[in-house]
Symmetry: C2
Amino acid sequence: MRYRVGLETRSRIMEATRDLVAEAGLEGTTIKAICDRAGILAGSFYNLFASKEEAILAVVGEAIREVEPDPSQPSEVAALVHAYVDFVETQEAAARVYLMVAVTGGLTDPDIRDRMLRHHAARAERFADALARRRPDLSSEAMRSRVEALLAALNGLAFHRLLDPTFDLRGHALGLLEIGAR
Amino acid sequence: MRYRVGLETRSRIMEATRDLVAEAGLEGTTIKAICDRAGILAGSFYNLFASKEEAILAVVGEAIREVEPDPSQPSEVAALVHAYVDFVETQEAAARVYLMVAVTGGLTDPDIRDRMLRHHAARAERFADALARRRPDLSSEAMRSRVEALLAALNGLAFHRLLDPTFDLRGHALGLLEIGAR
DNA sequence: TCGAATCTTGAGTGTTCATTCTAATTTCAA
DNA sequence: TTGAAATTAGAATGAACACTCAAGATTCGA
């Protein structure tokens, strides 16, 4: 059971963590820097998070929850693509943190890798459902292939956009639909 | 002017660095671990590399040079795709290091970011030339769009393959050609 | 209002790590 | 063979950093 002030501190910590990791990377971000930006001291940090890793994973968890709009109701493929582009464009810091953890963590830590693969599988499922409505003619093999290609391309394009802010992510992402999801 | 033993030590260091970073990540890899695996002591490391970062960038440079086959003569799109898949499959450690540096470094260090964007531009050029021969009908805009989509998708698929060794990278990569480069 | 739970402070701890330095050894061109 | 340059060993250094702790302050339900 947390007090209100504790919850506020917690969200200030997460905000500071997200922005700092987005700028300086996972290891470039120190507890001291997080605390300075959140306006607290180390003891308060450890009152709310067990470790730096836990704070970063909390940020990633939040990003994962925000990248998918309304998981309850079905969507069009184009709507899913737009939602993803919106996420990258408007929550750039969260997108950067997600990407860094997915790559560094995914390639070195089995737990994070499994988490990323599960997230990917859920996303693929969602896209497959949407695509099935638009292209009922495709075999499940062809569907799988299209979805993997589309998700991989979206991720690759998003990475390019994060490297180069002038890159037209939305244009290229919508181009994918023209090329592959006629 | 280096002596033969120095050059041999240098390549042992690079090999150790590549494999360790592939396993443990950029910051998980220590100078001591590199030296242990290379069978040397710290003094020798610093006789040949100015810093840990320099050794890692040397590994990345080597990977960049190996990912492109014969930059002199022109290639078919399919050949370029095969070459990329071959690189990821046979030089998995190098591919992992490249990816980690591209993401963590690219998103936090301006020099590395520029280097990655230049590498991408050169690759895109290469793919565009190959695609132009197969599809002379496409406008230069459509060409650009196809190439960006193809490269992004290849990168995304490669990342997935590195996360999940059972993922059929070559199958999906060739699927891209069927979908988009008819 | 009371007081148990929660929160904050801020100094402190211990470790890990990249990097340096010096002296001894080895290489290899002339 | 010689000796200047390159290589190596290995201990030492110093900084950075994640994390702990005890004591006081604050919160808020009962």
